[in-house]
């Protein structure tokens, strides 16, 4: 079992009960990264983040530095921090928001300075009432301290940061849907191209959207240097990362681990992380990166937490959430519930997603409750194929955004890994686990 000695980069203050206060933040190096960034040119700040090879922590894993560099020279630029964390089983940003709000504000300020933003918005999903209170209190304190507002820390750089509450819609985590939502509209993802809001973003202006965890890394990267960050992990998967571990483990929680050097087995079994599966049970399957990701079986448990490795194996680290199913879990019911989620959360713009999710939910449900037919197994894959032709990984896309192509992941996993279980449901007229 490997537990590396990598430093805690984004969760270093989690051990303090008052981690969310300005006093604790300042006593533990808070706003030093911003202070240092303001002595550098915006280009130097961006170069440091490039050197860190920081991959976005929201789900898509796009290099953060490259996202910034796409911003054209324009008079108005916006920074939007995406805290709409809604991918099922993902709860890392929830911890960052509640337990270290100053860190994400400092990160947002560093990002805003690097891209020359005129205003920054922190979009936090509306379900996080305590998180919204903590971030607003932190913002108020940061304004009073002089870290936000006019002439930040005496540097001449000025920026306003506005906290914006969401109102309950998974799709708003998709960055163009988030911008629509922030403009006061329904959260409908925008048609691509342009593929990035860097070209046409908030109010049609160049905009960078970065995830909460992504910006939370920035104070450490500026203070310690991009090279120190890149020295952790391996290959393209640098640094540490927060993993949200849930399901049938003894200690569900959020753990900051070093990329690549740590494996799924370490995460699930190490006493300081998941502590193993529940007594008397074994791992039946696990989801490596949010419910949009195809599942892995016990034979893949020694795979490193590496974006490349997991990608090559046909899934993704995605939003950094690992769901463990023990042999007591019904794979069919689990996949049905995930499909029901997509059905409820499809925004309805694109036919394959809107209609396909409903069809799949109904078929999965009738199999689970014992009304399934033998031909349903082929029908499931046929509908999946209509949503995402070929049902490959990475998935082909017939829709405006990637919600649609994410729907087949769990169903294709069950068909691939647990077809016997599907057959038992059909033949015996019900769920053997019920």
């Amino acid at each position: 079992m490997t537990v590396t000695s990598a430093p805690k980069i984004v969760s270093s203050r989690f051990r303090f009960d008052d981690s969310y206060t300005l006093e604790r933040y300042l006593a533990t190096g808070g706003y030093e990264g911003l202070r240092k960034a303001l002595t550098m040119t915006p280009e130097q700040v961006a170069a440091e983040v490039d050197a860190a090879s920081l991959l976005g922590r929201g789900g898509a894993g796009f290099p953060a530095g490259r996202k910034w560099s796409m911003l054209r020279k324009a008079p108005v630029r916006y920074l939007v921090v995406n805290g709409d964390e809604s991918e099922p089983a993902t709860f890392k940003d929830h911890h960052l928001i509640e337990r270290d709000p100053h860190q994400l504000i400092e990160g947002a300020l560093i990002a805003a300075y690097a891209v020359g933003a005129a205003q920054a918005f922190i979009y936090v999903r509306g379900e996080l009432a305590l998180g919204l209170e903590r971030v607003q209190a932190a913002l108020n304190a940061a304004y009073a301290f002089g870290a936000v507002g006019k002439n930040v820390l005496g540097s001449g750089f000025s920026i306003d940061v506005v906290l914006h509450p969401g109102a309950g819609a998974y799709i708003c985590g998709e960055e163009t849907a988030l911008l629509e939502s922030l403009e006061g509209k329904r959260g409908f993802p925008r048609i691509k191209p342009p593929f990035f809001p860097a070209a046409i973003g908030l109010y049609g202006e160049p905009t960078v959207v970065n995830n909460i965890e992504t910006v939370s890394n920035l104070p450490w990267i500026i203070t310690n240097g991009g090279a120190a960050f890149a020295a952790l992990g391996e290959g393209a998967s640098t640094g540490t990362r927060l993993f949200a571990l849930s399901g049938h483990v003894r200690n569900p929680g959020v753990f900051e681990v070093e990329m690549v050097k740590t494996t799924f087995r370490d995460l699930i079994y190490a006493p300081v992380y998941g502590g193993g599966v529940r007594p008397g049970a074994e791992v039946k399957a696990f989801i490596p990166g949010g419910v949009s990701a195809p599942w892995f079986g016990p034979d893949q448990i020694d795979m490193p937490l590496s974006q490349e490795e997991v990608g090559k194996a046909g899934s993704m680290l995605g939003s950094g959430s690992v769901v463990v199913m023990s042999d007591q879990a019904c794979a069919v019911r689990t996949a049905w519930r995930i499909t029901k989620f997509f059905y409820r959360e499809s925004c309805g713009q694109c036919t394959p997603c809107r209609e396909g999710s409903g069809w799949l939910e109904k078929i999965m449900h009738r199999i689970e409750v014992g009304a399934g037919r033998m031909e349903d197994l082929d029908l499931l894959m046929d509908v999946c194929d209509n949503i995402s032709p070929g049902v490959t990984w990475p998935p082909a896309q017939t829709t405006i955004c990637v919600l649609g192509p994410s729907i087949p992941s769990s169903i294709a996993s069950v068909v691939r890994m647990f077809s016997d279980e599907l057959l038992v449901h059909v033949k015996e007229g019900g769920c053997p686990y019920a």
Partner: protein
Amino acid sequence: MEQAAGRAGASAAGSSASAAGSAKHFDAATRRKAEDLVSLYPERRSALVPLCHLAQSVDGWLCPDAIREIADLVGISPAEVLGTATFYDLLHTEPVGRHVVSVCTNVACLLRGGEDLLAHAKTSLGVNAGGTDADGQFTLEEVECLAACDRAPCVQVNGRFFGPLAPDDFDSLISDLRDGKLDDVVPSHGVLSRVPRDVGLAAGMSGARTSAGATPGSGSEDRS
């Protein structure tokens, strides 16, 4: 808290909704908060969701009169506000109970007893998911992932987390809510954040949008 208000409100005055003569629903203090919210954004409509939350904090739900006033504040039609609001799960365009009890049954909670907890909640409260009990105290909802999977099976009451909850824990929670023992922790439904923003835009929006309908940069005056 005072000064940003008048500025933003004044430029809204000519909008079509107010010309139609809609009655004001918000009281003076709420109206001031509403105008403060509008002043934070380069374009008025961005304040739509925050204004809906504000209305819910007063009324517990998003009533037609509030929708009309929000439409007036952001300069669009009430139908557009309604059409936007119905997209979002947290905005209730029908009355709900004083406590909205949201039980998660998504994957992490499913694996740890979320469905059993929901079934228990239905029996315990005597309502189905989506229903409100007879005295208007509790509305029960089955919800998607709340991002608290380390507390599965988890429940939210008016946005505040509880979990992991066994059926007995659920009943004591309901009983405490009923007796008002948790009033400090769980405000009535609709109250999202009890921490107000205590400063307007301080930096000034140099180069900000000043096109028609947008709120011009507010300069650097601080509130005092």
